[in-house]
């Protein structure tokens, strides 16, 4: 139950609070994956802090038996930054939704990411505002009919990963609620990343946006519509693993394997590729007609210094150079004079 018991289990991360999501909600699967992964990270339970905003997804901390902070709508990245900067040794995760993270919280999200604060963001993307009962969100498709857009929405959506890459994020990944194993692997990779991590988790809201990801997640469709990004491996997909993605100049193309086209002709995934446009190209792939949706780690740049470390080092440096601050001297600094 504490740091003195190093071997933790999934159960250790479950709380006594009733889980209050709709039956069938994709959030359950995500919770289960996180509860399964945390004990495997070799980190004492009390070092975890789970921070969230407001939304169905943001109830997450209540169900994680560690330190948790359910803050206000959209502000989790900023609260988390305060925690992480003040205590870099803590393991800070943010649970957020597409509305919380990209609508009201868009600015805090991109700033936290560009600063490369060592926080892991789990963005539950159900393409809808669940908690407020079904308005369209910044990831809802153009023309979407919802409670607030009965005649269809007029706003083009964000591509969350393209935005994150545009905001200089050092770790960018995508997984899906129903792909438990993949999700767990992705979470572990995020945990291993040093800087800021943004993980989009496609999640089904079966009440207000049921089937938003069905074209990807239906058992039959998965292999045809999803391509898994694996470091060092070619981009292959299809029920018979007979299709691949090839780079032609700057452009991607879907090719049929065989007939002279072999795996070697395909794009070999390199999550550390330093060309910044590479991950961007992958992120935009799903929008291209005829292309599969990539899941996995799009980018993982592990050598970018973290904000909190730079801050801490600066303090160390100045202390080294000037000596630890002396309050008495501080008070007496500047021009002084004695009155007797």
């Amino acid at each position: 139950m504490s740091a003195t018991v190093p071997v933790l289990t999934k159960k250790d991360f479950q709380t006594d609070q009733e889980v209050r999501w709709c039956p069938g909600c994709g959030d359950y699967a995500i919770l289960s994956a996180v509860q399964a992964v945390f004990p495997e990270l070799g980190i004492p339970r009390e070092k975890f802090v789970v921070v969230s905003g407001i939304g169905c997804s943001s109830r997450f901390p209540y169900y994680m038996n560690t330190f948790g902070f359910h803050t206000i709508h959209g502000r989790a990245p900023a609260v988390a930054t305060g925690i992480k900067v003040a205590h870099p040794e803590l393991e800070v995760w943010v649970a957020t939704g597409d509305g919380d993270s990209l609508s009201i919280g868009g600015n805090h999200t991109i700033h936290m990411l560009r600063r490369n604060v060592g926080i892991k963001v789990l963005m539950f993307n159900n393409r809808i505002y669940g908690l407020t009962k079904g308005q369209y969100s910044p990831t809802s498709e153009l023309g979407k009919k919802t409670k607030s857009t009965p005649f269809g929405s007029a706003a083009r959506p964000f591509n969350p990963l393209a935005l994150a890459i545009g905001a200089e994020t050092t770790f960018v990944a995508r997984s899906i609620d129903v792909m438990q194993q993949h999700l767990k692997e992705t979470l572990k990779k995020a945990a291993a990343h040093k800087g800021a991590a943004y993980i989009e988790i496609l999640q089904n809201c079966n009440i207000f946006n049921d089937g938003a990801w069905q074209y990807l997640t239906e058992k039959d469709a998965r292999s045809e519509h999803i391509v898994q990004l694996e470091h060092g491996k070619p981009l292959i997909f299809g029920k018979n693993r007979d299709k691949g993605i090839r780079l032609n100049g700057l452009d991607l193309e879907v090719v049929q394997l065989g007939n002279g086209v072999s795996e070697h002709d395909l794009l070999i995934h390199d999550e550390q590729y330093r060309n910044p446009a590479y991950a961007f190209l992958l992120a935009k792939m799903e929008e291209m007609p005829g292309f599969p949706t990539p899941v996995g780690v799009f980018r993982s740049w592990n050598d970018i210094p973290r904000y909190e470390d730079l801050m801490a080092n600066q303090i160390k440096d100045v202390v080294t150079k000037r000596g630890a601050g002396d309050i008495d001297k501080l008070l007496r600094s500047g021009d002084t004079w004695e009155v007797r």
């Binding site: 560690t66 803050t71 305060g82 900067v85 003040a86």
Partner: protein
């Protein structure tokens, strides 16, 4: 009280007077703030009591020589107590027609006016929208005008140094400073030292400025321009080591010291805004005290990052001014709900909206009291002088940490930039701030309260066995679990209110200065302290029975305030707003407090207050009975 102006008829070579008010004004590029501070530090080192008022142009830079570009610095210094920078000016230094136009109304009749006559060409006059040349049109006949060719004389003095014209011209403020030193018989060695230090790597510039200053001094000596010079003996200040301190410097230092006394790391989340930015700048320099300064993307991130830092165990704070305060309100509600200690400093400025960013005002009190959704009470402290900001920072931190509450500190543009001689305390005079992080899982419940303070325990991440969840939803008493039950909600609303009320046990009873009972009680708060104190002193000397209470604690109010008010026939509340404290007093005590309200982006003048006091005491002083009730 002898002043220069009074003393003008007798003309001894050197005359001892009690106090003087000097103002330097010119274009923002003319270095008036530097001349002013140098003069201030020199008289301070000599032992005078003093108060300063820097008057910056609006945020935006204006073209040189125009009216919006005028910058000023005023200092009052004396051999006795000084409470304000002074209503009217004895010596005015004006570097151009724009500065002259904006400032001349504050010069006393017969006062000394030193003008840079080199900048009164047609072009200069046009930029100041002056149709005629005031040096020639007799509009200045009421003053003792000394036109000085500041530019040409400075150039002449620097001739040998081989500097370009622009650089030489930049030294003219030191020529003017030299003249003032002569006028008040002050040594220049402090400024010499300062120049050496400032231009360590550019000794030529140090030399140039020194020469200009010396030239100004000698100019007076040689030309006998003034015929008389003045001497103001040292004041009888409490013994100790002194320094000049502005309100923003004092706040910054106060929080560094508070963190040290509490054994915590100081975390500042802030977003720059006039006139609060200097606190961020100051604290960013204190890295060797382990201070973490986080310049956030906006005010919301500034306060929420502070809440995060507080959650993880830092002494966390945020600094801003009115518009930024408005943006922080939702997050303040969160701090109230989760009961975490943060300090929110609002350095008030003129409004509404962007308003008058460089001007002062006290109009955020009701925003501080009520500017949040639902019932979200927050304790509020207000500083009354620049030096007091230091003590208020300490006290705000102490309350936040003891009661586990957000605390609001109100300062304003006038305190922030104004400076006063400040007696440096001994470390032993500064209270320790005890802080307790719970570590024992036994019986730990996140909302179990200390019976005396009603504070909940501070259980920081990283502590084994204390894992728990908090948030902005209503929570169950004691357990802190989410809870929507009607009676629990009412209980929690009342508990949060009771916790703020409980702070009253630490709030000292007010003891009015002046008369302990009488015809009029003046209740003030914040930066009006100096003007009220000066006005009350003079009016009491004239025989009126007046008390003065200056509130540091605005929420909760001192417990005896109601009784104290009953001891006076009338209550007057001067504020730089439309009557915010008076509204609170009227509602709480049903006292017929009268507001005296000035909303001009400028502090009260002593004379204005005195006139108001006389007016209030003249009507129905007897008839209406206690507080008009």
């Amino acid at each position: 009280m002898a002043t220069i102006t009074d003393a003008v008829e007798s003309k001894p070579k050197r005359q001892v007077i009690e106090r003087a008010v000097v103002r330097f004004c010119g274009d923002s590029g003319d270095g008036m703030q530097i001349s002013g501070s140098q003069f201030t530090n020199t008289v301070a080192l000599y032992g005078n009591d003093l108060a300063t008022f820097p008057d910056y142009p609006a945020e935006i830079r204006a073209p040189a020589g125009t009216l919006p570009g005028v910058s000023g610095f005023q200092v009052q210094f004396s051999s006795s107590d000084v409470y304000t920078p002074g209503d009217a000016v004895d010596v005015l230094v004006a570097m151009n027609p724009a500065a002259l136009k904006m400032n001349i109304k504050d010069l006393k009749k017969n006062g000394i006016l030193i003008v840079n006559s080199d900048s009164f060409a047609d072009n200069d006059l046009r930029k100041a929208h002056q149709a005629t040349n005031p040096l020639e049109d007799h509009s200045l006949d009421a003053y003792r005008v000394f036109p000085v060719q500041l530019e040409r004389l400075t150039q002449a003095a620097l001739e040998e140094l081989g500097l370009d014209a622009k650089t030489m011209n930049r030294c003219k403020n030191f020529f003017a400073l030299g003249m003032c030193y002569w006028l008040y018989n002050r040594p220049m060695d402090h400024t010499y030292r300062w120049l050496d230090d400032k231009f360590k790597s550019k000794p030529l510039l140090a030399e140039a400025n020194k020469r200009a200053m010396k030239a100004g001094y000698s100019y007076c000596e040689a030309t006998e321009a003034f015929q008389v010079s003045y001497e103001i003996p040292p004041a009888k200040l409490a013994p100790g080591l002194y320094r000049n301190l502005s309100g923003n410097q004092a706040l910054a230092m106060g929080f560094v010291v508070a963190a040290r006394q509490a054994g915590l790391q100081l975390f500042l989340g802030s977003y720059p805004i006039t006139p609060a930015s200097d606190i961020l700048h100051e604290l960013s320099g204190y890295k060797n005290f382990g201070v973490l300064t986080f310049q956030a993307e906006d005010e919301i991130a500034a306060i929420t990052s502070a809440i995060g830092a507080a959650y993880s165990g830092a002494l966390a704070m945020t600094t801003t001014s009115g518009p930024g305060m408005a943006l922080k309100t939702e997050a303040m509600g969160l701090a109230v709900a989760v009961e975490l200690p943060i300090v929110v400093c609002d350095i008030q400025r003129g409004g509404p909206s962007t308003g008058l960013p460089t001007k002062t005002e006290q109009a955020d009190l009701l925003q501080a009291m009520y500017g949040r959704n639902s019932e979200a009470p927050i304790p509020i402290l207000a500083a009354s002088t620049p030096g007091d900001c230091f003590w208020v920072a300490l006290e705000a931190s102490r309350i936040a940490l003891k009661y586990m509450v957000p605390v609001i500190v109100l300062s304003d543009g006038y305190l922030a930039n104004g400076a006063e001689p400040w007696r440096i305390p001994q470390l032993s005079e500064i209270p320790q701030i005890p802080v307790h992080f719970v570590t024992d899982p036994q019986g730990f419940l996140p909302y179990k309260r200390d019976p005396q303070t009603l504070a909940r325990p501070w259980a920081i991440p990283g502590t084994p066995g204390l894992e728990h969840r908090i948030g902005g939803l209503e929570k169950q008493d004691v357990t802190g679990n989410v809870n929507y039950e009607p009676l629990n909600h009412e209980k929690m609303v009342r508990l949060r209110a009771a916790k703020v009320e409980a702070i009253g046990q630490d709030v000292p009873d007010v003891v009015p200065s002046g008369d302990p009972e009488g015809d009029l009680l003046i209740v003030g708060w914040g930066s009006t302290y100096g003007s009220i104190t000066a006005a009350v002193k003079t009016q009491r000397a004239a025989g009126r029975r007046i008390g003065h209470v200056h509130l540091r604690y605005l929420n909760p109010l001192p417990r005896n305030l109601g009784q104290v008010m009953e001891r006076y026939a009338k209550v007057l509340v001067p504020e730089m707003n439309m009557g915010q404290l008076s509204m609170i007093l009227r509602a709480k005590y049903l006292v017929d407090a009268e507001g005296y309200n000035k909303i001009q982006g400028q502090p009260f003048k002593q004379a204005e207050l005195e006139a108001k006091i006389e007016e209030v005491l003249s009507y129905g002083a007897v008839g209406t009975g206690k507080n008009g009730r």
